[in-house]
Amino acid sequence: MSQRTTKEKNDFNQEEKMEDIRTPFSEFWRKFKKQKTAIVAGIFICLFFIAAIIGPYIVPYDIAEPDYDHVLEGPSGKHWFGTDAYGRDIFSRVVVGARISLAVGLSSVVVGAILGAILGLISGYYGGWIDNVIMRIADVLFAFPGIILAIGIIAILGPGLYNVVFAVAIFSTPMFARIVRGSTLAIKETVYVEVAKSIGTKDKRVMFKHILPGTFSGIIVYFTMRIGTSILTASSLSFLGMGAQPPTPEWGAMLSSGRDYLGVASHITFFPGMAIFVTVLAFNLLGDGLRDALDPKIDN
């Protein structure tokens, strides 16, 4: 027998050592890279964000400047998306509107997610009467038609973007709370949480170090999709006259004010409508991709 064996064995193990370190993130990234549609959607979303940030500085026209001699003109080389009832350039307004819609969508969901995550975590972890109270309240919010809730909040606070954000956030909260509670309940029962407790880890650390990170994948997916829903809800509110204040180029408000021109100058509603559709679609597709990439059950 040969003496080479040990060396070979070491080589073999060495090889193992050379492998990349597979962090949960790299694992996610590996799977996410396969989601072609989600990547495209992600790129779109990045573009929207860029538009939102630099849009106001690069658009060809002032979004508030009226031109009464060129009202309701269809798309042309000069005005790519045409002009609205005051002769303002719709393209510029749609681009600048991205800032508002994204801001509303994002911030309301951030607020809703944070609130929901905290409530869900507490509710799921402690259980008992706290859980009961929180979940009953969530049930109530659920049983309350969302848009009515939003209308009510707007009615209390008055119209305006901040209030829309708040209204939509409130109405996202119970769902986040449920999702986080659900994962918390599941993770709470895992052996590794039991291990943490057996070691003597305090509740707070168990909750935030061991449980919370485990709920992220659920939150992230819903988060992405919820941004879409929030943009839709905000635009519904604008449609009902309770959203952004003119001349803010919020897409829903543009749609709402343009709807009287359906059949006369349909481009006024078409482009903001498409903007909403494409944005929400992109967020939903991204969410789908994230879910597939984050779901441990899906692996091929």
């Binding site: 309350f144 449609f239 909403i276």
Partner: protein
């Protein structure tokens, strides 16, 4: 099963009480003085005060709440401030249109949603899957009012096939229920797809195949019913979405239902009306979910046999 039913029914009570309190407080937080509204813009302060007294709006909030609950228990939902008719009477006529509209919408969205979802899951990664899921994602990405307006333009104005709005024959139901159901159908389709895909991985599906059963039988007898269990719960939740959506859709389609009534009542600060409407909306949601829960138990022998 009977025990389960009773338990679930009783379990609804605390939620209802909470909702009634919530609705009551919520409504009273909205600015706008109903007495002023009833009195009209040109009424004097004294008039307004008189009316406030008459409506019991000057009493402490908790007394108002107790009276309100007492009324409900006696089948008295109060008098509409706007029309001065009993709320119950006003709502009676509005309830059926909304209820039938939501039923209609849920029916077709469940049928189409399931179909698309199952076909997509079974043909995962093939064109059927991509088409189905693209349609579904589009469905949840469209603003419903916009969709409604567009559908009217196409099917009523351009093609002249369907009425533009109003409540009446079967034809009147088509556009509003399609608009209202589109989002829900999409959600169901996506959910059904993932639910079916999960079930397809189950050991018992492999067992079924190992018996030599045909694909059709495997899918319908073994996969479908199991996949339905989580879907059913989800459908219940979607019902809330439909009820909320009806507010917007009824405006677009001049539908004489609770949704449009609600918008009117909010504008008019018709407290008793708003309270009762929201209560009924919530009640509907809760009852539907109760039914869904029971259905869940029927589908799931493990629950119904305990």
């Amino acid at each position: 099963m009977l025990n389960y039913t009773i338990k679930r029914v009783l379990g609804v009570i605390p939620t209802l009480i909470l909702i009634s309190i919530f609705v009551f407080l919520f409504i009273h937080l909205i600015p706008g003085d109903p007495a002023r509204i009833v009195a009209g813009e040109d009424a004097t302060a004294a008039d307004v005060e008189l009316i406030r007294e008459e409506l019991g709006l000057n009493r402490p909030l908790h007394i108002q709440y107790i009276n309100y609950i007492k009324g409900i228990l006696n089948g008295d939902l109060g008098i509409s401030l706007k029309t001065k008719k009993p709320v119950l009477e006003e709502i009676k006529n509005r309830f059926v249109p909304t209820f039938t509209l939501t039923l209609f919408s849920i029916f077709w969205s469940v049928v189409f949603g399931l179909l698309i979802g199952i076909v997509s899951a079974v043909n995962r990664g093939k064109w059927q899957d991509y088409t189905g899921m693209f349609a579904a994602v589009s469905g949840i990405s469209l603003p419903s009012f916009w969709l409604g307006l567009m559908l009217v333009q196409i099917f009523s104005v351009k093609l002249g096939w369907l009425p533009t709005g109003g409540y009446g024959t079967f034809k009147h139901f088509i556009l509003p229920s399609m608009t209202l159901g589109a989002g829900v159908a999409a959600v169901i389709a996506r959910f059904a797809r993932s639910s079916v895909m999960d079930i397809l991985k189950e050991d018992y599906v492999r067992t079924a195949r190992a018996k030599g059963l045909m694909q059709k039988i495997v899918v319908w007898r073994h996969v479908f019913r199991n996949a339905l269990i989580p879907i059913v719960t989800m459908v219940g939740l979607q019902f809330g979405f439909l009820l909320g959506g009806s507010v917007v859709i009824e405006t677009v389609f001049s539908w004489p239902g609770m949704g449009s009534l609600l918008i009117d009542s909010v504008a008019f600060r018709d407290y008793p009306m708003i309270q009762s409407e929201i209560l009924i909306f919530s009640l509907q949601f809760i009852i539907i979910n109760l039914i869904v829960d029971l259905l869940y138990a029927v589908l799931n022998p493990e629950i119904s046999y305990k």
